[in-house]
Symmetry: C2
Subunit: 350 residues, 2 copies
DNA sequence: ACATTTTTTTTACGCGCGTAAAGATTTACT
DNA sequence: AGTAAATCTTTACGCGCGTAAAAAAAATGT
């Protein structure tokens, strides 16, 4: 490499591609390519030369061209059902960080609550040639066959909500434990709870929670009561609020304690209670107790702050990311489901 | 094109690229390429033949390879400061939809509240060769020069929070009008408000709102009072809660009405009020009134529901998307700032 | 100083698709 | 039927980079 590009004397000259950069740095393109793949893989002296050039010209390889012809990419896709829900935003961010720390390039997608968009996202994801993907399916509404076909083609770890035995593994929370645990707490500290849920929940975890509630109540020798409210879609708070109004008006709650299927529903219910002047909490002057499930980011700021059982965000995302990355790196193992326990968060609502 | 690929008889044969697809469809690759660029651009009969093949083999072009050598792509990047904030999630989704409807391919990114990540995201965005980008900067913490350089290279519309006179235009809300309007409302319906804000707000809109508050109070002939609470970062609710506790304990509020700089701060303040047993609302038995600003998705579900002045989400995102897409399509015009008025949303908190 | 090992350079092709140009084919139209 | 216009096929190159193989150069060891 003898020729030094004349433009090297003009600091502002923008480097368009690796070819140009290799010219001004005086290092051959394949070596430069190697450097960007792993800076440690080239000799110390050439690394210095490259980095010196890098200081003067802020060239960066085109990430999409990079992946075009690579055997194994470092891309991982993260797909959640609905980014507008802070719960998913939170866990997605957590997963992103773990991927970055492990040297991977995460890209985040949301299905925006729409099953068609979910498969659309997955189809587009193929173009990224991802080494793997972390997928939280929409749930009930997901197009099973499309997801399954995707999982056949690219290493996919399912998290949050499981759909059949898809992908390389499932990591999520132990919904039975969630509901049993908080039901137990509620029974020990006051009247046994009734269960407040959506009639047609978007996601299979809700079914598990109802089952766990019924079983727990039976075990404790109490009569269960399930209130299933109408409502489709992902506007859980509004569904909870409207359903709450109806249930309160018709005096459908058989006890003074209400366990909600999830925190967002509980938030809506709390609003309904407020609007009807029903005081919520565990103080003597309160009419009812309300508890949620999920440990939603907003649950701390309701009035009263919501007693709930929280996902172990860190543990779930850690286990999910590690399992996927191990699989990517060749660690083969049979399909496995891991469900982590939740932690009870005691606040003023119950 | 005489040779029909033998694999055509095996329906399951996966098509790897456009070459293979053109073979089994019997149409030349350039024509197939043209079809995918715009199905209307090929003759009706060939379009049918392609679509018939498409039914048997679900081939889709690689979107990243597509953009590799295109003069003008249909990509648009959408960058928000923090996806975990439902406000941004909401507006981002709105923008995405508008881009899709206009025939563009939006991709969503979040800076996750980190200025370094913000420039990182923009650098990576370059690889996408976007036709344009919709950028809501972090604000105060943003690396101005990096953003400016990016705006020089790719058509960028700034929204939500303006940073200098960057990009092709700014579209956001009229923060002066916001605060003037709601201050006016509060003054007319009770005691004039004091102003509750963060000492070092993340985003320049906060300054405008404080100024507007001061000016409005002066205009109405009332003495203003600004309570600035400590706190860094994006955990506004917690900052509002802690600051609220301190202000309540020290009796810093000079009137019974508190206008918060934004809804998330207000949500935290409401929690502090609850925790101190201070009743909020406009009913006779309430101690204070609290109002927010933004029309945050959660504001409907606080207890009491939060009176606020809401962004016109639809109008902002519509104007932002249209302005960018017009610019992309050749419509040149000088830099311009558009600030849309907000709508007062009366609820129970004030 | 020599041979050996490690690293770099050259050369060349591939990824999946855009795109331009010239020729062949098909359509539309008088 | 004949001509012009529209569309398609062929051929060829480009985008920005990965990667393999052979040759050249540099570092290492004795």
């Amino acid at each position: 490499m003898q020729t030094i590009d004349e433009r090297a004397s003009v600091p502002e000259a923008r480097i368009k591609n690796m070819e140009e950069f290799s010219a001004i740095s005086g290092i051959s393109r394949p070596t430069v390519s190697k450097y960007f793949h792993d800076p440690e893989s080239v000799r110390q002296s050439t690394r210095k030369r490259i980095e010196k050039a890098l200081e003067r010209y802020d060239y960066r390889p085109n990430i999409f061209a990079m992946n075009q012809n690579r055997k194994l990419t470092k891309n991982v896709g993260i797909v959640v059902p609905l980014l507008a829900d802070p719960y998913f935003a939170e866990i997605a961010r957590n997963l992103e960080q773990r991927c970055i720390d492990a040297g991977y390039r995460p890209t985040l997608f949301s299905a925006h609550g729409d099953p068609d968009l979910e498969v659309e996202v997955l189809e587009n994801l193929r173009s990224l040639k991802p080494a793997g993907v972390l997928l939280a399916p929409l749930g009930r509404a997901s197009h099973r066959d499309a997801l399954a076909k995707f999982c056949d083609d690219v290493p996919t770890l399912i998290f949050d909500s499981s759909v059949d035995e898809m992908g390389i593994a499932f990591v999520g929370s132990d919904n039975f434990q969630f509901t049993s645990h908080i039901t137990d707490y509620l029974c020990r500290t006051g009247e046994p709870p009734c269960f407040f849920e959506m009639k047609t929940p978007a996601n299979p975890n809700a079914h598990r929670r109802r089952q766990a509630y019924l079983k727990a109540m039976e075990a404790f020798g109490h009569a269960p009561q399930v209130i299933s409210v109408d409502g489709e879609g992902w506007a859980f708070e509004e569904i909870g609020r409207l359903g709450g109004h109806e249930a309160l008006t018709n005096k459908q709650f058989s006890t003074n304690t209400i366990l909600c299927s999830n925190d967002r529903l509980a938030i809506g219910l709390l609003t309904a209670c407020y609007e009807q002047g029903v005081k919520v909490g565990r103080a003597p002057d309160c009419a009812i107790r309300v508890a949620g499930q999920d440990g939603h980011p907003n649950s701390r700021y309701t009035c009263p702050p919501l007693t709930t059982i929280s996902h172990d965000y860190d543990a779930v995302s850690k286990h999910a990311a590690e399992t996927l990355l191990e699989a990517i790196e060749g660690h083969v193992s049979p399909w496995k489901s891991t469900r982590l326990e939740g932690k009870l968060i005691l606040r003023d609502s119950a």
